[in-house]
């Protein structure tokens, strides 16, 4: 590991947007907390320390704390991202944290992405529509190795909600399926097990709540923690949808 000369420890100021919708008396407000920074501190560590030392009621979500599960999406200094893998050393000493917009607020930094994703998934039927039932006892269907890799590339979405939080359309149109939804359809479209045609997809996303709602502002593409090629996929789907329309 690097032998950086130890710089003087910073004092961090965290400004956190707090609100508990369960409590009728609660109003959204900014709360401030000060912490001594130390090497290797992430927002996961910082938030837990705040909860432990100052604010037992502070709500936030962490699960894997390794940047894999997508639970801890929040707006960090104006930009949606995964808190668990954000080192405080990459941020200025004043850090503002707010919940992801566009999702139902559970409390403080915790939002209900699960319900949103389920709704999207039901609407777009984001699963393999199998052509034939798999024979579990026989050799599996073959697939080109490169194709499998290509599918995995798009399958890496963790449904963290950052793309929705960064999307201009999603804020205006409640039913917009967002980059997360469109990317899923692009992913299933590649899969040879899948029986749905482009015409079927057109029925689902050939409107302003789908692929034509995107204003190509690239917000989703810029913030995706998994660096998925979201804009490329949306542009590609749009071209396909124009041809089947």
């Amino acid at each position: 590991m690097s032998n950086e000369t130890a710089s003087a420890a910073r004092t961090l100021t965290l400004r956190i947007l707090r609100h508990n919708p369960q409590d009728p008396a609660s109003e959204p407000r900014w709360a401030r907390y000060e912490l001594e920074e130390y090497e290797g501190m992430t927002l996961f560590i910082a938030l837990n320390e705040i909860r432990e030392r100052f604010e037992p009621s502070l709500q936030f979500d962490f699960v894997c704390r390794a940047g894999i599960c997508g639970s801890c999406g929040m707006v960090v200094n104006g930009r949606p991202g995964l808190a668990c893998r954000t080192l405080t050393s990459t941020l200025p000493s004043e850090i503002t944290l707010a919940p992801l917009p566009a999702f139902k607020l559970i409390g403080d930094l915790s939002v209900d992405t699960g319900q949103w994703m389920r709704g999207m998934s039901e609407r777009l039927e984001t699963w393999i529509h199998e052509q034939a039932e798999t024979d579990l006892h026989a050799l599996e269907e073959r697939m080109e190795p490169e194709l499998a890799e290509q599918i995995y590339e798009l399958d890496r979405c963790i449904e963290c909600g950052c793309c929705i939080a960064a999307c201009g359309t999603a804020r205006m149109r409640e039913d917009f399926v967002g980059a997360v939804g469109l990317n899923k359809l692009a992913r299933f479209r590649l899969d040879p097990h899948n029986a749905r045609t482009d015409a079927d997809l057109y029925e689902l996303i050939g409107d302003d709540d789908g692929v034509f709602g995107c204003m190509t502002l690239l917000g989703c593409h810029d913030v995706c923690p998994k660096e998925l090629p979201l804009q490329t996929q949306i542009a590609f789907l749009r071209r396909k949808m124009v041809t089947v329309s």
């Binding site: 037992p56 894997c64 499998a148 097990h193």
Partner: protein, 659 residues
């Protein structure tokens, strides 16, 4: 009082829970899944390296089949496994992989022709056959004779969980998120469902079901440093224990993974070593061949973790402010391989360590990783003592892992068990014996008991801090119930944990909100976690031998004569401070693979008196069976087909017909 009825209540939305729910739903039963978090965020998503199934497609897996997988699994378990269950598992694993492929898991595929790989730190060329082109490929993992671990890059668990999550939606199965089961409802040896608390509103609801399935994963978070997600607190296992009826098996069998990063404890997959990565010490010396010349870095996990600790104790670790560590070097694999096939690892190193593993060595040390112990079930997944309660996945002791599970065998277990157990649950639900004849009075009693406990915490009359007690528990577990154990330290651990449990009955909560309240949650989970810690510590204290992941420095030999058994713990009474410990014998006389040398270090174990006779018997039985018919030979030794649901009995097709 709010009551919800369903046929099958599934507690847990990880791989095991979702596959169970899909299975019963497809058999026509109603089901509800409960989860602490959105199902796709369950800890299963973090599995990186892969899933074992003996497809035998790739050149390095050639000749693989159920027999080889079975042998690896049983040896890996240090003969603690239930061999019939291990057979059921290895038989169904290829079917599970194929089912998931049909549901869209983009398993990496065999590409015909030559490719470079690193084996034992040397570049070699592997030639894949044209016949295998496009079939599912596999990588090497520790403790396996063949390359058998199927994968999607290093995001295997993610791909599997998302495919299953999608199937859950496709099958219109409701998943209730942020809902925590806090007690099981039971009477007269029969389980009727659970009392469930909403983590958002604090409301309590009784869920009543014909069958209740616990698929809540492991209990790694009773340790201070763990690769597990922060929600892996074992509360599902604990509520089964708290019934006083359900049994837990082998709670002292806790696995340490050799390579978690320091200090965060985040895992780098075994695929790193499987793909050719090596371990180095403070001098950059590759030390594993000194200890295990044959298997080196790919010895079984428990073995590698112990060797690493041993090496650090000799002063060969790298000093750091967070304690000693060693290096994992995957730069030998080349940039392209690292950045493509070990992407999560690359990301983790980049974000948490600020290094690129294609150039830099990764600081690692053994860290708590997997819970072999759990709710003891029969081969159908039903609790041995509490009817109507089923368990599967990491939460269960089904018991295919015994005292050490092989890498890649766990995500495989989750889906395979989900497939098998859901069939038995469906059979059970189809029988009128599963009708829910329970009085609302009883249900009320269970709900009120939970409410009273929560109210007492919120009323704030206690004086102890949950955080302080929890931290102490975590330290005791890692320091005294860790990789190397001794009787003295375990004695102290048990005594102190007992004291902590007593103190945990007097907790103070600063923030008196009965609804969303992280502090309250931590407080009511703590006694549950302490009970599990006590089961593990006491089990380890009493087991005066070394087997798999359980290693006693004062009893370093595996002792089949006295200890070829499963530790069984139950909780005798709510106010008790220690579990009751019993043992379930594992019979040698009907084993397909009687205990023998596991192949690490020197041959050094105490034989079971029945072993020689069983070995001789096996030889005799096999003489009478066609030497070329491996199925007939297997059946003659230990038939298991009849234990499987009928739909999973057919044989698995392979490329090589002789397999």
């Amino acid at each position: 009082m709010k009551i919800v009825y369903t046929d099958v209540l599934v507690i847990g939305g990880g791989l095991a829970g979702l596959r169970t729910a899909v299975g019963v739903k497809q058999r026509g039963f109603d089901t509800i899944v409960l989860s602490l978090v959105p199902a796709k965020r369950s800890h299963s998503a973090a599995a990186q390296g892969g899933m074992q199934a003996s497809l035998g497609n790739s050149a390095m897996g050639s000749g693989d089949n159920e027999d080889v997988h079975f042998e690896d699994t049983v040896k890996g378990s240090d003969w603690g496994a239930d061999q019939r269950v291990a057979r059921m598992f290895t038989h169904v694993a290829p079917k599970a992989i194929r089912e998931l492929a049909g549901w869209g898991v983009p398993w990496n595929r065999v590409k015909q022709g030559e490719r470079e790989a690193v084996i034992n730190a040397e570049r070699v060329v592997i030639t894949e056959s044209a016949a295998a082109h496009g079939l599912i490929t596999a990588r090497d993992f520790g403790g396996t004779k063949k390359w058998r671990t199927c994968y999607t890059s290093d995001g295997t668990g993610h791909a599997m969980l998302f495919a299953l999550g999608d199937q859950t939606v496709a099958n219109a199965i409701p998943v209730m998120e942020r809902m925590e089961a806090v007690a099981l409802i039971h009477e007269g040896g029969r389980c009727y469902g659970a009392v469930v608390r909403s983590l958002v509103s604090g409301e309590l609801t009784a869920f009543l079901a014909r069958a209740t399935t616990v698929a809540t994963g492991g209990y790694g978070r009773i340790y201070r440093v763990s690769t597990n997600a922060v929600i892996c607190e074992g509360t599902g296992t604990a509520i089964a224990l708290e019934t006083g009826v359900a049994e837990l098996g082998n709670m002292e069998a806790v696995q340490f993974h050799p390579t978690a990063i320091v200090p965060a404890g985040i895992l780098t997959t075994e695929g790193c070593r499987g793909d050719g990565g090596i371990l180095r010490d403070v001098d950059g010396h590759r030390f594993m061949p000194d200890y295990e010349p044959e298997k080196r870095e790919l010895a079984s996990r428990d073995v590698v973790s112990r060797r690493m600790t041993e090496h650090m104790r000799k002063g060969r670790g790298v000093k750091s402010p967070y304690g000693d560590h060693l290096w994992l070097d995957i730069s030998v694999l080349g940039k392209e391989h690292v950045h493509k096939n070990l992407r999560e690892v690359t990301d983790i190193c980049r974000y948490f360590l600020g290094i690129d593993p294609a150039n830099d060595w990764i600081p690692v040390r053994p860290t708590q990783h997997y819970s072999m112990g759990g709710i003891r079930t029969d081969h159908r997944g039903e609790s041995t003592t509490l009817k109507g309660l089923f368990a599967c996945g990491e939460a269960a002791c089904w018991d295919m892992h015994g005292f050490n599970r092989l890498g890649g065998n766990s995500v495989a277990e989750t889906v395979v068990a989900g497939m098998i157990v859901s069939e038995f649950i469906a059979d059970y639900c189809a029988d009128s014996a599963s009708d829910i004849n329970v009085s609302t009075g009883l249900v009320r009693e269970f709900v009120e008991r939970e409410r009273a406990q929560l109210d007492a915490l919120v009323a704030g009359r206690g004086s102890e801090s949950a955080t302080a007690i929890r931290q102490r528990m975590e330290e005791i577990m890692i320091d005294q119930v860790g990789i190397f154990r001794t009787g003295n330290e375990l004695d102290r651990a048990v005594t102190e944990l007992e004291d902590l449990l007593r103190r945990s009955r007097n907790l103070a909560v600063r923030y008196p909100n009965p609804g969303a309240n992280p502090e309250l949650v931590a407080a009511y989970r703590l006694p549950k976690m302490l009970k599990l810690a006590l089961c593990a510590a006491l089990g380890a204290r009493q087991r005066t031998e070394s087997r798999g992941a359980h290693f006693r420095e004062d009893f370093p030999q595996r002792n089949d004569r006295d200890w070829l058994n499963r530790s069984i713990t139950t909780w005798p009474a709510p106010e008790a401070s220690l579990p009751k410990l019993d043992y379930e014998a594992i019979a040698v006389t009907d084993m397909e693979l009687p205990p023998g040398f596991r192949g690490y270090g020197t041959r050094n174990h105490i034989d079971h008196p029945d072993s020689p006779a069983r070995h001789a018997e096996i030889e005799k039985i096999l003489q009478a069976v066609d030497a070329d018919d491996r199925h007939a030979r297997q059946r003659a030794l230990m038939p298991f087909d009849h234990l499987l649901p009928e739909k999973y009995r057919p044989r698995n097709q392979r490329l090589e017909t002789s397999a």
